[in-house]
């Protein structure tokens, strides 16, 4: 594990091209953090949410407003933390119904937050600094005096944040707070009877989850897009992150990374594939085909291994260790 982190910090910058950074590594890392956030809520605490995009938007616009209005605090770490905290606050607010609403009712209820937040950032002019159509842009990014300009700089900053974030998530899920989440997920009634307070447990999960998602949203806006509008965080984003969590594996942090890698690489691969075989297609047809293949792959994965890539990986590792013996 340590080797992977060291390699990511030292070896990758030696070989990576700008394309690799901006199209693959940066989206992969940021979305991994969002997936970890959602996995805490869905995979560990068992509360299905379809509002991830909205919480990312809260992170992005909160960070934007701090960056814009308080120039003294122009330090990306502070800005991102603020984005995360605001998202956590909004997450707690929209998590309150979870006390009374369960399962798919809750999933649909979280859509309320998605649509409401979409609307909020498109319509409330102050939040987007009175720009037409709510599209905003940032420039001049720095962390403790370090100007984050090149793709390589951005990559290193994101990598640092994601590593720390993952460590924090790991610590939380293995401690008593993580156990309280899993207890509520596995059997909420029993959890309450042995002394967990259901509302507090669920709201902690909503807060922590939204914090991660908010930070990811702020990073996505500042370091991936640079200029964005509310559409960048619409419901499709919510589904995208949910796919990552499910394909990677519910309740697995490593799975969140695998799911993110899968979802980031898949469209790129699909776009290249016909070219390799010398087939030319119109972009419209290509995007329709992408939809189809993507849908089919999801169904296929769910049938082959409902517990996601993380489980497949574990099984494969076990098999390799025993090879050539069957057991």
């Amino acid at each position: 594990m340590l080797a992977v982190i060291v390699a990511a910090f030292l070896a990758v910058p030696m070989v990576a091209s700008p394309y690799l950074y901006t199209e693959i590594l940066i989206p992969f890392l940021i979305l991994s953090l969002a997936a970890i956030g959602l996995n805490i809520l869905v995979g560990y605490c068992g509360q299905v949410s379809l509002g991830t995009g909205g919480f990312m938007a809260v992170g992005a616009y909160a960070a934007y407003n701090l960056w814009l209005r308080v120039p003294e605090l122009n330090n990306l770490i502070v800005v991102f933390l603020f984005g995360g905290l605001m998202a956590a606050a909004v997450g707690i607010l929209f998590g309150i119904p979870s006390l009374r609403i369960k399962g798919f009712y809750l999933a649909v209820a979280t859509l309320a937050s998605q649509f409401f937040l979409d609307w909020l950032f498109a319509r409330v002019k102050w939040l987007t600094n009175y720009t037409p159509s709510g599209s905003v842009a940032v420039g001049k990014l720095e962390v403790f005096g370090w100007h984050v300009d090149t793709p390589a700089d951005r990559y290193l900053l994101i990598l640092g944040i994601v590593v720390v974030g993952t460590l924090v998530a790991k610590n939380l899920v293995r401690g008593h707070i993580g156990r309280s989440w899993m207890a509520v997920r596995d059997m909420d009634i029993a959890a309450e009877i042995i002394g967990f307070r259901p509302l507090r447990t669920k709201l902690t999960a909503f807060a922590v989850s939204s914090f991660f998602i908010g930070v990811a949203g702020a990073m996505w806006a500042f370091l991936r897009l640079g200029a964005w509008e509310p559409l960048a965080f619409d419901i499709n984003r919510s589904f995208q992150i949910l796919f990552m969590v499910i394909i990677g594996g519910l309740g697995s942090l490593v799975g969140s990374f695998m799911g993110a890698a899968f979802i980031v690489l898949m469209p790129i691969l699909l776009n290249q594939l016909p070219g390799w075989f010398g087939i030319r297609m119109s972009t419209a047809l290509l995007s329709h085909l992408e939809f189809m293949v993507f849908g089919a792959m999801i169904v296929f994965f769910l049938i082959v291994e409902p517990h996601g890539l993380a489980r497949l990986w574990a099984v494969a590792k076990e098999k390799l260790r025993l090879w050539p013996f069957p057991h």
């Binding site: 859509l111 089919a296 769910l302």
Partner: protein, 374 residues
């Protein structure tokens, strides 16, 4: 003041009936299989696209492939049905299950012949009734494929996994429909009256303005809702469906074939999607955004309860009316008060309405109160 209010209310209620129709598709599947079918919206789009393309003017070159596929599907279904019937006869006489293979071959041959026939015939627009019938057959085929390729392999999985699978199906269908039929905006011409209608001219100055097309559409939708409710409550299949919904294992133990029931339910909700697609398509034109109707139907579901047919109906009406009224009367106030860049609150108002309602009644409008046990 009362006049515009009633006008908005009526418009909202008429739209609400259509929401009910979409919500009903969800309810049917959730009741009988516990699957929260997110692909319902994609099914509506797919059905609408199919009808529009079959019944619309065809320019002569690119549609041949699609025509071929459709005709193949129809004849394939027909021949497979005959084959299935014959196979059952064989079984009754004691023949082995090897006949199943023969049936499949038969279906394939039928599909091929049908395809060739349709290929040579199908250059012009089909009459609407034929297009609808053909689409119905395709929806049935789709249900069969979904049951066979997806659901059967996911029996006994958790709800979230099945839900995810339907998200996959939705993606696939969105892509498939547009690959097959193209992604332009199409029209469906149901021949609905267009001239605005004025009601109660004696009571209100100028009368109430009502779109007769909406009125007819709402009437069709209402009729379908009633038929489905009766189907569910009174027929033998309906009883079996309700039994399956209550307890899968128990239903199987009294000899209700689970797979067949699922096939029926998915076919029926495919037909509901067809009706919804037809009406929405005639109203708004057929385009990708039609699949987002599913999102409109969701607050109806949480308001009415996932398992309640009357809930879907009443919920649809409440949401439809609430949405329109809020947009017309509440939004301007909000815009003025908070200096917003436009209204558009109907996108979330329905959700908030349903959410607030749920806080007071978690089981929905008509859902049964759950007694928790340990």
């Amino acid at each position: 003041m009362l006049g515009p209010f009633l006008e908005t209310l009526i418009g909202g209620l008429l739209t609400g009936v259509l929401y009910s129709l979409v919500a009903l598709g969800f309810v049917l599947i959730f009741k009988a299989s516990g699957v929260f079918n997110f692909a319902q919206g994609a099914m509506v789009l797919f059905a609408a696209l199919t009808i529009a393309r079959l019944s619309g003017e065809i320019d002569g070159k690119e549609v041949h492939l699609a025509n071929f596929v459709v005709a193949a599907a129809i004849l394939g279904v027909a021949v497979a049905f005959i084959g299935w019937y014959a196979w059952r006869e064989y079984i009754a006489r004691g023949a082995g299950p090897g006949e199943r293979r023969k049936m499949q071959v038969l279906a394939a041959v039928g599909a091929l012949v049908g395809g060739i026939a349709a290929y040579s015939y199908g250059k012009g627009a089909w009459p609407l009734w034929l297009a609808i019938a053909a689409t119905a057959a395709i929806m049935g085929l789709l249900a069969y494929a979904i049951e066979r390729l997806v659901l059967r392999h996911l029996v006994n999985q958790e709800g979230i996994i099945l839900f995810m699978a339907t998200l996959g199906i939705a993606n696939f269908l969105d892509g498939f429909g547009q690959t097959l039929w193209g992604s332009d905006i199409y029209k469906i011409n149901l021949g609905l009256p267009k001239d605005p209608l004025f009601l109660f001219e004696g009571v209100f100055p100028g009368g109430l303005l009502v779109d007769p097309g909406e009125l007819v559409a709402a009437a069709i939708a209402a009729g379908l809702v009633v038929v489905l409710a009766i189907f569910f409550q009174k027929t033998r299949v309906g009883r079996a469906l309700r039994a399956v919904a209550d307890d899968h294992a128990a239903a199987q133990s009294v000899g209700i074939p689970l797979n067949t029931i699922w096939l029926i339910v998915w076919t029926v909700s495919g037909l509901v999607a067809l009706a919804a697609g037809l009406i929405w398509g005639a109203k708004l034109g057929v385009q990708f955004s039609i699949s987002l109707i599913a999102l409109k139907a969701l607050p109806v579901l949480i308001l009415g309860g996932f398992t309640s047919v009357p809930g879907a109906i009443v919920g649809g009406l409440i949401i439809g009316a609430g949405e329109k009224l809020s947009e017309v009367f509440l939004a301007p106030i909000l815009v003025k008060q908070f200096d917003l860049a436009g209204g558009g609150i109907e996108n979330w108002f329905a959700y908030m309405l349903a959410l607030v309602f749920l806080l007071f009644r978690p089981q929905g409008l008509f859902g049964e109160r759950i007694i928790e046990r340990v």
